[in-house]
Amino acid sequence: MSEYLVDIKNERLSFFTPAGEVKALNDVSIHMREGEVLGIVGESGSGKSVTAYSLMGLTAHPGKLIDGSLYFNGHQIETMSDKEMRKIRGNEVSIIFQDPMTSLNPVYTIGNQIMEAVLLHTDKNRAQAKERARELLELVGINEPEKRLRQYPHELSGGMRQRVMIAIALACEPKLLIADEPTTALDVTIQAQILELMMELKDRLGMAIIMITHDLGVVASMCERIAVMYAGKIVEYGTTDDIFYAPKHQYTKGLIRSIPRLDTKEHERLVPIEGTPVDMLNPPAGCPFAPRCDACMKICLREMPPVTHFGRVHYTQCWLNQKEEMEAQKEKGAANE
């Protein structure tokens, strides 16, 4: 047993494509307590979604877990059969996807799709499940729930559909809700509403949330801890304050530099991170970020950087941080003598 709700240790996951092995996750470790909100940020293909999906046993076809242990709420995920996983999915852990327009089955009513989740995991009969579905629609702030239950997805707006997705995800009051870019496909005003709703429901139901996004604004307002992923590795991990006020890794710094700020002058340019993401089919020997890093050293190209800790929570995987930290230790030692 673990003191954590989620405890992923040294997960390695690869996709075996015809072109070769794509190492999607490389030694990823994550732990979360109950009720915690973790943000995972990173660009497309950095392994954000893959990490979360593997926790639900939803790794897509050529993907395979190579190594590591995935613990969730008393279950050792990597040892479980598909049948055992089905009992957890939608029950103890649920997910909301990016695109609400395509995530609901177009040929069944909203009511049918919410009731399905209820009927699968509880002993409720159809009438009770329908009542529960109505409650859920109310919970996620949909007006006229009776009417909506009978409607089809195409009759609802995008924001409304995402609310329905949330209702489905919450059907069995999960311990963990995974939100995979839940607001990317929505209008800005709707985005704010959905995020607000999620936070409100988190407080009410006490579930933990993994927020996957590439929108730093979203994580800043919602999350307690943040994992920054790059090329299948967590390059920096810390509390929201650590990440935003004391970023250590060059990639994190770059990400934060690239967000527009309120005090940005009118003609000032945002600073992009130069270069393109690594080719995951042929990853470099050393730090995957090295080719794009301003502060790249020789060792960065040769060897994977070790973990450097700053305090209890905050850590990075970066040679520069390692070097600075060692120098700091030395100075401290010298001062002590």
């Binding site: 939803l58 957890i88 939608g90 695109d99 395509t102 177009p106 040929v107 995991h121 089809y152």
Partner: protein, 305 residues
């Protein structure tokens, strides 16, 4: 819905009229006539026959007469099968073809749909390749080859099945295999490709994330979305199949309607050509309306206008 059906019926009448008119003039443009044969018939006899059936009148007049009669439900007498009306021929022969054809359509649906799904599920595996090979064969091999092979192996060499007529259930096996071979193959292909498309959809991932079991994911969430192309195909296919196949009926000596289509054209049996053509056109139009309604039931996004 009612308005839609009314509109479709109106449209159907126009379609059938167009088909009838086109057929009428086309068949009269083809040289020859019903009373020409190798045996010399005296010109007087021919003239008498033509006068009897009104073939001596000008084309336009014949067209008007035929259409008026047809509107009153009278499709005339067969010119070749003395003493039989076109209606009586269709009434007698259609049930035979419909029985064989109906069973064939059922068989091809019952085989094609699950096998197509299976191929999509096992994409790239041995089973998928096997199903692909079989379905390619099914589409490429003409029915007379299938018929001949069946007759030769099951009928003649192994003596397992009767080779002609429709006396018992055993007689149905070979014609049904021959008739359902192509549609089964075609449905498998349609089903496989649309299923592959559906399996990649986001809502399938949602279903999985809800914890729906594998079989139900396929049956409830995938099949209903993937079946539409098959519905489109099966409608007209059903109309063609229940009206009989010339080749299959000829080879297995089945007294069905399929033979009449070709026989009527060969013999310039004008009234029978018209009758069978209008009959088939009507069936197809009806099937298309049914397909549209089934569409609406399967996919609520479709609006019938």
């Amino acid at each position: 819905m009612l308005k839609y059906v009314a509109k479709r019926i109106l449209l159907a009448i126009v379609t059938i009229w167009a088909v009838a008119t086109l057929t009428f003039f086309l068949m009269n443009m083809v040289p020859g006539g019903p009373f020409l044969s190798e045996k010399a018939i005296s010109p007087q006899a021919t003239a008498a026959l033509e006068a009897k059936y009104g073939l001596d009148k000008p084309l336009m007049q014949r067209y008007v007469t035929y259409m008026t009669d047809a509107l009153h439900g009278d499709f005339g007498d067969s010119l070749k099968q003395r003493g039989r009306t076109v209606m009586s021929i269709i009434k007698m022969k259609f049930p035979v073809s419909a029985r064989v054809g109906g069973i064939s359509v059922l068989v091809s649906l019952c085989l094609g749909v699950p096998l197509g799904c299976l191929a999509a599920l096992k994409r790239g595996k041995f089973l998928d390749s096997l199903i692909s090979v079989v379905s390619t064969c099914g589409i490429a091999v003409p029915s007379f080859v299938v018929c001949t092979l069946l007759l030769y192996t099951l009928g003649v060499n192994l003596r397992l099945l009767p080779t002609m007529g429709l006396n018992g259930w055993k007689n149905y096996i070979m014609p049904v295999i021959a008739l359902s071979f192509y549609p089964t193959a075609y449905i498998m292909r349609l089903m496989r490709s649309s299923m592959l498309d559906v399996l990649g959809q986001d809502y399938m991932r949602t279903a999985k994330a809800k914890g729906v079991a594998g079989f139900w994911i396929m049956f409830k969430h995938a099949l209903r979305n993937a079946i539409l192309p098959v519905v489109t195909y099966v409608g007209p296919m059903l109309a063609y199949t229940v009206t009989g196949s010339f080749v299959v009926e000829k080879i297995f000596v089945i007294p069905g309607l399929g033979g009449e289509f070709i026989g009527a054209i060969g013999g310039r049996d004008y009234t029978l050509i018209m009758g069978t053509t209008i009959f088939l056109a009507t069936l197809i139009v009806i099937m298309n309306v049914i397909v549209d309604i089934v569409y609406k039931i399967v996919d609520p996004r479709i609006k019938l206008k």
